[in-house]
């Protein structure tokens, strides 16, 4: 079985060095579940696990005199595996907090089990804003980004620069629809126009036909409401067919690992919204350098979010003096998050971690100075604007 529990050598090391009482008390367990082997594995995966390990080591390996242990699992992008693993962890292994990664379906399934068992669930990789809307729970924290923030980041930034006419290339499933809907709402609300859209099947290999349709719409912006391999192949084909000469490509969910995979030559000029970029300031560069040493690649925003959220949680446990979910959540809601991930971030009633988002443009090959030097800043968007509460939000927690 792939989902073997991994006990951590580094943690053990710190535990030996720690005080004697750590051995007497049960450990505080962090459960990390994400896509470790499938199409999203580069976005989070082993790198995410490494980031959590780094956070635990930086924290000192113990909290409240208890050793901190990490267990991890690969949900293989299957919601049923995510749910049953979460249940097993909480019921049989006494896991105190679940950190979840990529894939919206698995995230919603995990959140449901965690809420039922009253355990804190922090998600860093899933896009769906349903986690903090119709399926919000007092124990769910959506930390790194959501589809609303992505749509706001990309669409607002471009509309401000006069790009009013949009066409969407949308993955034909729930996630793509949500992304397109969120983005076109922003476009329409800010005086822009949506000239049309085309839906493509998931994991399509040939995008040329859709791109020609997009081009004949004469729109200024091509919004890519898809992810992963689909985004990569659309960008590649857009270059080949010269679409990038007449249209601005706006990725609604582009990770730095995607840009790395597309290659700078084809990716140049692509616009991408992100919560975090490794080359923002000294703090981010320091974290990125340490991560690079271990993983041989630069961290993306999800992995940075893994580090930050683990740290934030452990600090809250320490401040609350208990691992009781309700008390820790209360502490978390009072906390201002200031670290290498964000400045003045806070957790809203519906569970959204509100923080600034940034719109970046991919550099041209001539501008790239070093490996992974891919982005230049276009604009930033305040947390309140990026994570604006949808007017029709169904989350009851907001009214409490």
């Amino acid at each position: 079985m792939r989902q073997t529990l991994i006990s951590m050598a580094a943690v053990a090391l710190f535990a030996v060095a720690g005080n004697a009482s750590a051995a007497d008390q049960p450990p505080l367990k962090i459960g990390f579940i994400t896509d470790m082997s499938g199409l999203y594995a580069d976005i989070d995966g082993q790198g995410g696990l490494e980031a959590i390990k780094m956070a635990v080591a930086d924290f000192g390996g113990t909290v409240l005199g208890r050793k901190i242990e990490i267990v991890s699992a690969d949900h293989q992008n299957k919601a049923d595996i995510a749910a049953s693993k979460t249940r097993e962890w909480i019921d049989q292994n006494g896991v105190n907090v679940i950190i979840g990664g990529t894939n919206s379906g698995t995230a919603l399934a995990t959140a449901k089990v965690a809420a039922e068992k009253k355990r804190i669930y922090i998600n860093n990789g899933a896009g769906t804003s349903a986690l903090t809307n119709e399926q919000c729970s007092p124990y769910t924290i959506h930390y790194t980004y959501d589809t609303i923030a992505m749509a706001n980041g990309s669409a607002k930034g471009l509309l401000d620069k006069g790009y009013k006419n949009w066409f969407f290339l949308t993955a034909d499933y729930a996630f793509g629809y949500a992304l397109e809907k969120d983005a076109s709402n922003v476009v329409l609300a800010n005086g822009g126009k949506v000239l049309g859209d085309v839906k493509h099947p998931l994991n399509a290999s040939d995008f040329s036909s859709y791109l020609l349709q997009a081009q004949s719409s004469k729109a200024q912006v091509l919004g890519l409401a898809n992810a992963g391999g689909d985004t990569i192949n659309s960008v590649k084909a857009a270059n080949e067919f010269g679409i990038t000469k007449t249209m601005k490509l706006a990725g609604l969910l582009v990770f730095i690992s995607d840009v790395h995979a597309i290659g700078i030559k084809n990716a140049q000029g692509l616009l991408a919204t992100t919560a975090w970029y490794w080359d923002q300031n000294d703090q981010t560069r320091k974290f990125a350098g340490r991560f690079m040493e271990k993983m041989k690649r630069m961290p993306g925003m999800v992995q940075a979010g893994d580090y930050s959220s683990t740290m934030t949680y452990l600090n809250a446990v320490k401040a609350a003096g208990t691992d009781d979910s309700d008390k820790v959540m209360e502490q978390l809601r009072k906390t201002k998050i200031n670290d290498m991930f964000t400045k003045n971030g806070y957790i809203r009633k519906d569970g959204t971690m509100v923080h600034d988002m940034y719109l970046y443009e991919v550099k041209s090959p001539a501008e790239v100075k070093s490996p992974w030097d891919y982005y230049k800043l276009v604009s930033s968007l305040s947390g309140e604007k990026a994570f604006a509460i949808p007017p029709d939000s169904k989350c009851a927690l907001l009214n409490k």
Binding site: L39, D206, A237, F241, S257, G263
Partner: protein, 294 residues
């Protein structure tokens, strides 16, 4: 002029794009048809071989700086050799058994190859740039066609035609066709039939690898690129008739065109249209469009 609310130029350009995809289907399904015809093996690892062709090309460029043109010949050769090893070591033992065993073995090999490469190169894939000579695009009047796509169609069709000619019109081909009908009798005439099956399997997977090299600059090279494509190619072979050489070529091209049109009129169905056609064809012609009932 408009046809179904679509200008002629738009329609022509979509048909041309369909032809590009169709030529990939044709080469892939041709390899499958040849292997099935002679070995009676449903080669599920065809997608993995396609992917290997692309990834070997990338590796050669990355680590040894061997260019695209050399790899166009070398990659099929390397993958073909791997195919020969697979046939000698594993497949050979399954000829007496039910089709299902060959299918399971090749499916298992696919999972293995994909898994190993995914753990080395990750899932998001590797970029391979278009060779200098073919970069750029030509304005055809009704559309701008990237030169590389034109090359992909041209070379695919050439390979298909040459393969068809060798099998249908030469004496080596006649042994092969005879072997498909009655292997024992062919052997009785002094033809080394086991060697022939080994080479045929090697050639079949080499075709897949060739197609993979052609695809490398067009689609992202990733360990999973083959499995996304292979199911459609199987449907193509079933529609054309298992084991029919010309059938698989023509069906590949034809379905590329149909798929291209679907992408304009109802894009959501573009991944399903091939299977809808397969159902209809199987209802009326169970042996496929070009197949013969045995």
């Amino acid at each position: 002029m408009e046809i179904f609310g679509l200008s002629t130029s738009a329609l022509l350009s979509q048909l041309l794009l369909g032809l590009v995809n169709g030529s990939f289907y044709a080469v892939l399904s041709l390899g499958l048809a040849i292997i099935f015809g002679l070995l009676n093996v449903i080669n599920f690892s065809h997608g993995a071989m396609f992917m290997l062709g692309a990834i070997v090309t990338w590796m050669a460029g990355q680590y040894f700086e061997i260019n695209y043109w050399v790899m166009l010949l070398l990659a099929p050769f390397i993958v073909g050799l791997l195919g020969i090893v697979i046939e000698r070591l594993f497949l050979r033992r399954l000829y007496q058994l039910d089709h299902l065993y060959g299918l399971l073995l090749t499916f298992g090999l696919t999972l293995f190859i994909e898994g190993v490469l995914r753990s080395i190169y990750g899932a998001s894939g590797l970029a391979y740039s278009t060779p200098e000579l073919l970069s750029g695009a030509t304005d055809l009047g009704f559309m701008v066609l990237p030169n590389y796509r034109a090359w992909a169609v041209f070379s695919s069709l050439t390979v298909c035609f040459v393969t068809w000619y060798v099998i249908e019109k030469t004496s080596i081909g006649s042994y092969l066709r005879a072997g498909t009908e009655n292997p024992k009798l062919v052997q009785a005439f002094g033809v080394n039939f086991p060697l022939m099956t080994t080479l045929t399997y090697g050639f079949g997977v080499a075709l897949a690898a060739f197609s993979g090299v052609l695809a490398a600059p067009i689609i992202q090279i990733s360990p999973l690129m083959g499995s996304n494509l292979i199911i459609t190619v199987f449907a193509v072979v079933v529609i054309g008739g298992m084991g029919s050489i010309m059938g698989s070529i023509l069906t590949g091209l034809g379905l590329g065109l149909v798929e291209g049109l679907t992408k304009v009129f109802y894009p959501q169905a573009s991944s399903t249209v091939v299977f809808a056609i397969m159902v209809i064809v199987l209802l009326f012609r169970p042996a496929g469009l070009f197949g013969r009932e045995k």
